[in-house]
Symmetry: D2
Subunit: 358 residues, 4 copies
């Protein structure tokens, strides 16, 4: 039997962190050796997260301070931290032979200037930008083995890119027409928040939009779409609009995407179904639903799945619907999938948990 | 003192009906004389709706069977019934001098053939189609006095047409580009439902879309947009896409609308703000929020208000956000406003109830 | 026509404050002249509370700093502030002829030592304790006219005392047996909170208890019960247990109260129904529901009502159920009712708004 | 390697059924061979439950009609059916050597007359009542191996009996004083419902009680308590009150239980903590939380855990708080645990999934 992969989680007290821990605690190929949290150092995991009560590791493993020397003992370090954190210690970890998956944005953009523009800070490890990969684990499955650093895709980008990339690669979309992604996210996307605007009394029975004019996921999504479309001049000029909204529920992202197919007849729609169907024919996680069945966020709650479907609007536009769990396929689930691919483990190991409903 | 307007509500046991009753019970210019419900006939309102306990009228007024003779005693009859109901007795009521506001679709389309196509039934009173008006009460304020029958606009149409009509009238929108309305509605839009798919266990923590390829509000919205754009050939050819979604909350509609302005510069956006601002400068109910402030459905919950705002996306597209309470501005509130206009009462009478929050 | 009562609200940016403003803005006997909020001073109400958009007073009236000189211009000052705030300026306001209703706890206990014990601070105006009254407006309706200061009852105490006081006054309860109030409150009871534990992600789909061993409402409730039972030795020795819980919803309190009747037969239960029925026979707001019908918090949402019912458990115990809106009957609604009684206005003026459902 | 246990689920289209399937699909010691549903026969599981998309068994295994011949091929049959269903085929299945776990009430009461009284129907297999066991899997761990039929405890009974049984066995509770269980359940306890009263619009932001005077779980709970207390005359005369309530959330039961300890001093409470602590010292699933920490339903959502804690009220009463997931520990999770014990598998196999939060 192969030895277990030793995993560490930095920033284990946020929602992405707890979700990673939930997965790693039951992953048969992994030993969770370190979880850091400056604020909770010295406290056993189960003490902070009562949902882990009874799990032998969670009852004994204590949060540790986020020190690089401790992290070096792991085979892989997951950063579930704010933007700008992972980049500070990744160089040292990589030098020590440790692999890194950042669930924040530090390694999502390959271009240093772009990073500075959108994240308003210098990049602490620009030399890694060319070596790290942005890895949508359901599309890219090979390069993970060769790299030491992975920028795990954002939640909105995952939900938008998974359906669009196969269509763009197949050249089915009219790039001269606007591409619009109207995305709705559960409030856990805002993190373990102490803002009044995220309090239950404010969020319940409310729906609103935010970041309409500028949201950092816009550039991340657009980069991926442009690349999939071949990075041609036409692709670089595409009109892409992205509007994030907040749903009164904790988990889930639903994206409604509007594109104009080059062929707006039924045959065009059929070709689009075929392109997506083939792209994910062998996928354990991305599922094109039977014709006419609309995805539900609840069907993917707690699972690493993405449910997709395509519809032809009365106007002729193609309407793409996509549902994921933002903390799973949009964060921790995809990160574990990327880890599996990095270490040559079965891609779906530790991820066979189906959605929880109702 | 002027005599009170005698009002009747047909179909008083659904959500639109109860909302109408809630408003009419405290309306200083109205006497609620009749509420019908075949199923609940003989039962006092407060017995069926415990929320009305203690109101003297609700404690004594009994549901009556939906008979035209009874309804003729009213000055105005509100139909809060399924599509195809109001049209059966409206001719007789009008002949008896009674005014009618239908909150369903019977008088929303002026074209008989279109009605048959979209509602799959013959129209029982086609002669009224030319005489009835479709009345967005915040735009049309004069014709109500002259007509006997009003088709009260649908909830989605109200939320989409209120911001778009002033922009179309001002000729600011590029009609050659797609117009997309991505609309999200609270579940009360589905009515007092006994479908499993509307049960709490299914809807909670879920978000999905429905009717993507065909929804009856598509034609109603499009008719209004085409008319506002001058009913030109270009207007008739507009590409309009409408996607309704279901929110896990009882009330509220939030519409995110994507258009391309003819002038995509900041000046174009400014002109759009100005057009909307002027259109509703004197409005008690439609409010263009201060720049940058996004509407929230919770801010209009229980009120007859519509909150709007405009944003310029990175792509240059104009993103319009609109929030209403589907049962108020999207149904009962607008109906009462239309009644006020019909009878020469102050437009906002009985509607001064502000939103309820949290 | 009588002149309007000039009302001021101190602490107008919390949930109790906004609810008071919602009521006072449409109260026909009141002019809202001042709303204070140190943090929001200078900003019009409607700017902070978008739900008031369009109301002429809310669009123009600006928050003011909480200065006594400003408050003296009012006829009545409502304190919607934390405990220990109202007592600091009430003496000066009363001296200036201004009446005061405190929605916090400063005037709820008549005994200075008890106040110090339970609120862990000295009372700033002990001389007022004997003159102020604790006023359950549905029971006490006369003394309001004679006093200058009212301690408005707490939300839990209102929901528990309204059903129990008539039973205790009638001597129907066996005081030698435990009296237990198991109370469940919507999260708005925690105020406009910025605690992580009150965030949507934490509260949604969660239910828990808090303050089980000690909660300040215990003494407030018990004082009222002991007094209603005649303040005898037996009454003073009653065993009273109170457990507050948090519901995943913004508004509403539901109390399930367990007592042993002296007469545990059906006749005893009937006598209990009669005692409550008679106590509230003329009440506009407290309603004993028809036999067998259980109160729902949703039926009283947004209204000043309290719905009650009694049941006989298999064990013979009497189970009392009580539902109110914690921000209305449990705070702002009752405060306005008390103001009406203080100023000789019709008791229910400005409170005819029925519950909002769904 | 031991051969896999072949499992069948009857009534696989309800919430208890889907939860069982969710667990059995990933149980390493089980092969799910049959799922029946008359209504969905012929349809693959994943087609009906999109949350199972991508699981190879769920994608291929089709619902079958509920015929005994098919069920006989399994080693164990779980009945996730309405009361009165399992008893009709259990005799035949047992005769064929198949084991049965009924998640409904058919084998929860050992006394035929009692069953008829509370369930208003004749028992179809009275001869099995003496042979079947009622198995709280965290207390009874041996008899499962010896029996063929298990009556899986109800959700409310599990949450109430787990904390009370150790205290009663230790003789710490004063049986002359009332025992009160105030229980709050998520709406999924009502099943996959098509009643209007269970619709989202009705349940959201609502809290109410039901079955106060008579609920079938009363007798089930009381039987267990009386037995734990030694079935003495005093025990048989205990005053037990049980009030179920409905929470506006899908999953979770929180029980607040009031008892009087014989020793009401701190030492008495300490003895109670010790009794519960010892009873579950080796339990993987039942956890007495650290002193002062209140259970949350969210902490056990999706897991087989029960979180408990004890508090001493001001009155001296002991307040016991208990949280479970009604579909897991209160139904499917406990059923799988019972199956493990029946077949000599590790007790916690297939149940290591921790709670899902947020």
């Amino acid at each position: 039997m192969a030895s277990l992969v030793k995993a560490a989680v930095v920033g284990g007290s946020g929602y992405t962190g707890i979700e990673l821990i939930r997965l790693l605690l039951v992953h048969p190929g992994v030993e969770l050796v370190t979880v850091t949290s400056r604020a909770e150092a010295g406290r056993p995991l189960a003490d902070f997260f009562p949902s882990f009560r009874g799990h032998p590791v969670a009852e004994t493993l204590e949060f540790q301070p986020p020190e690089v020397e401790i992290l070096k003992k792991a085979d892989i370090v997951f950063f579930a931290t704010p933007n700008g954190t992972a980049m500070k210690s990744t160089t040292e970890l990589v030098a020590a032979g440790v692999k890194v998956i950042d669930l924040a944005a530090d390694f999502r953009l390959q271009n240093e200037a772009q990073w500075q523009e959108w994240y308003s800070m210098d990049h602490a490890a620009p030399e890694l930008l060319g070596k790290a990969i942005y890895a949508l684990a359901d599309i890219e499955k090979e390069k993970q083995k060769e790299v030491s650093v992975i920028g795990n895709p954002g939640c909105y980008p995952t939900s938008v890119q998974l359906p669009l990339i196969p269509l763009l690669k197949a050249g089915l979309i009219d790039l001269a027409q606007p591409i619009i992604a109207d995305c709705k996210s559960g409030i856990s996307g805002a993190g373990r928040s102490s803002k009044t605007e995220h309090s239950y009394s404010e969020v319940s029975e409310d729906f609103t939009a935010y970041g309409i004019e500028k949201h950092r996921h816009w550039i991340e999504i657009r980069n991926g779409l442009v690349a999939a479309a071949g990075a041609t001049e036409e692709a670089n000029n595409m009109s892409f609009t992205f509007t994030p909204h907040l749903l009164p529920m904790p988990r889930g992202i639903f994206s409604t995407i509007y594109v104009t197919l080059k062929d707006q007849t039924d045959a065009g729609v059929e070709a689009a179904r075929k392109a997506i169907g083939q792209a994910y024919a062998d996928s354990a996680f991305v599922h094109l639903l039977p014709e006419g069945q609309v995805p539900h966020t609840k069907s993917v709650r707690g699972s690493n799945s993405c449910h997709l479907n395509l519809f032809k609007a009365k106007s002729g536009q193609l309407v793409i619907t996509s549902a994921i769990d933002n903390l799973m396929k949009g964060a921790a689930g995809q990160a574990v999938q990327n880890m599996n691919l990095m270490f040559g483990l079965p891609e779906g190991q530790g991820l066979s948990i189906t959605g929880i409903t109702p």
